[in-house]
Symmetry: C2
Subunit: 337 residues, 2 copies
């Protein structure tokens, strides 16, 4: 299968993206990768790959690049020769089975809707992030594709999250939680209360409202929220990890005994950080678009890109898009579009 890879998107593009492509090819024999971007920027980073892998890497020329700071919908419409636009086109035309980008999230969402297109009946796409928590990995959806939502959007996120956890993560009957400011029925605003009723009257395994403290524990398999909330939470989590790490480092520098202690604790800290390592997940599908569009973290290095390519392969092999189409037909929650 051919996967389109935006070689120019992300903080460490193109070098780490190219390295990730090589790594993924060495891990999966059945994939080929179209590296999309400026050939002269890509070539130096793939030269060292083995002949067998080089055969499976094609460079597809793209003159333009969409920056992280550009207005997403405008950029994706105007920059028709950008690496991201071309990657999306390849998915739309069927030339590639899916695409991966670590670039501008808004542009990936806009491209997913405008170029790849929505699944019939889906009002707005949702970006879910599998969050490692104490008891399980929970899918937090949406984390920024749809900033403000209608009850229909949250309902569709729940259905797509349910499909994702069943199909891709092999969770038998995913527990669905609706993020609110309290577990009681009276909590939340109109949006949350209307959504709650939609969930209750669906075939979803809805277990009720969840609160902020339930997320690190991992009380449900899917946590549904508006994109604004999910985005703030996700970035808060990343920032907290970094802040704590730098604080600990500073404290350890100051204290000799703490340095010794740290050495003893390393295996434990490694185990903890392994559990919460987003590079192991690497990429997450934009759910609700008519193809496998996988968003990798902007800071992705080779290992994360390779994981994202693995996620794409998995999502395609398991017919992720088709599973959502079928779910919508059964669930009967389509918008008018």
């Amino acid at each position: 299968m051919l996967i389109a890879l935006d070689a120019m998107g992300g903080d460490h593009a193109p070098m780490e993206i190219c390295k990730g492509a090589i790594l993924a090819c060495s891990q999966h024999n059945d994939i080929q990768i179209a590296l999309i971007g400026r050939p002269e920027a890509i070539k130096p980073h793939i030269e060292t790959a083995s002949a067998e892998i080089l055969k499976r890497l094609n460079i597809v020329e793209a003159e333009e690049v969409i920056d992280m700071a550009e207005a997403p919908a405008v950029a994706i419409r105007r920059k028709r020769k950008s690496s991201l636009h071309i990657a999306m086109q390849m998915v739309h035309s069927g030339e590639a089975v899916g695409c991966v980008s670590a670039g501008n999230t808004g542009a990936i969402v806009a491209g997913g809707v405008l170029i790849v297109g929505r699944i019939k009946g889906i009002d707005r796409p949702g970006l879910g992030i599998p969050l490692p928590a104490v008891e399980r990995v929970s899918l937090l959806i949406d984390v920024g594709a749809t900033v403000r939502c209608k009850p229909l959007n949250l309902h569709q996120f729940a259905l797509m999250g349910d499909v994702y956890m069943r199909t891709i993560q092999s969770v038998e009957r995913p527990m669905i939680g609706l993020l609110s400011n309290g577990s009681e029925e009276i909590k939340g605003d109109e949006l949350i209360q209307e959504t709650r009723n939609l969930f209750k009257n669906s075939h979803l395994n809805f277990v009720g409202n969840v609160e902020g403290q339930d997320i690190p524990i991992g009380v449900t398999d899917v946590v549904v929220c508006e994109g604004l909330t999910g985005n703030i939470l996700l970035k808060f989590i990343e920032g907290t990890g970094e802040a704590l790490f730098s604080l600990m480092k500073a404290e350890i520098q100051k204290r000799f005994l703490a340095k010794i202690g740290m050495a003893f604790m390393l295996p434990m800290l490694k185990e903890l950080s392994r559990r919460f390592d987003y590079e192991r997940t690497g990429g997450t599908p934009l759910l609700g678009v008519n193809g496998a569009v996988i968003k990798a973290h902007g800071r992705s290095k080779a290992r994360a890109i390779s994981s994202a390519l693995g996620v794409t392969r998995d999502f395609v092999s398991k017919n992720g898009v088709q599973a959502i189409v079928e779910e919508l037909e059964e669930g009967g929650v389509r918008s008018g579009n």
Copy 2:
């Protein structure tokens, strides 16, 4: 000064509330405390106090208690003999200079609005939490008083947060941030964009949108958001602390060397946890109501209650309410009420 204390509110009421009252009296010579609740439940916990302190503790009888799970506005209206209702009445009548409760947050907010009353011109009150971050303590406002907001509400939270940080925390010219899903001007929804314009055209030291990752760093002195988002974030923070602690404990149990390491690192971990200890802050004023209404954490023990009483004393001494009144007159951002 007489402070009204809801002796029946909170997870550890009445024992820890009473202990907290004794502790506060031993720390501050100028306060007296009205312990409001069932006399037979309160008495056993204050018997051991010294005669000097006992003189400054008055029990005020209240037959009813508002539960954590009750619908706030209904409970505060109906239970006129509840400890919380009576505490609020004492503030409204001027009998007490302020009140503290670790009870049902919604009922405290409802009571603040319905019994103590709003400051003229304030549309909705805001509950701010001082969050310890790497670079400073940031006030996160609102964390649940006003679930969904209009631009006016967010603007008033910013003004009140500014006053709070200047008056109570002695920050000279507080930097104000608006929580959004991106730092760029185009990010956010209509609410955020309209609020941004209000901030820009005010005398506030508005430094722009802040994102989730800016909170643990402490980029601004005040972080303004809707109550729903703030509440979810706050509970997430608490839950994460607990989850990490229990994970570390479990890992340490499994590893002998980690136990030794932990012993060496204890001074450092204590220093870190001291920095992030909410018990040191203990209570936070419901900003926008016409009196010192201080909300303590539901899980407060004696030390946190004592801190909350100290916060009340401080807020009253520094004329916190009057400072907000003056700010509104100068800022000219009143609602029509």
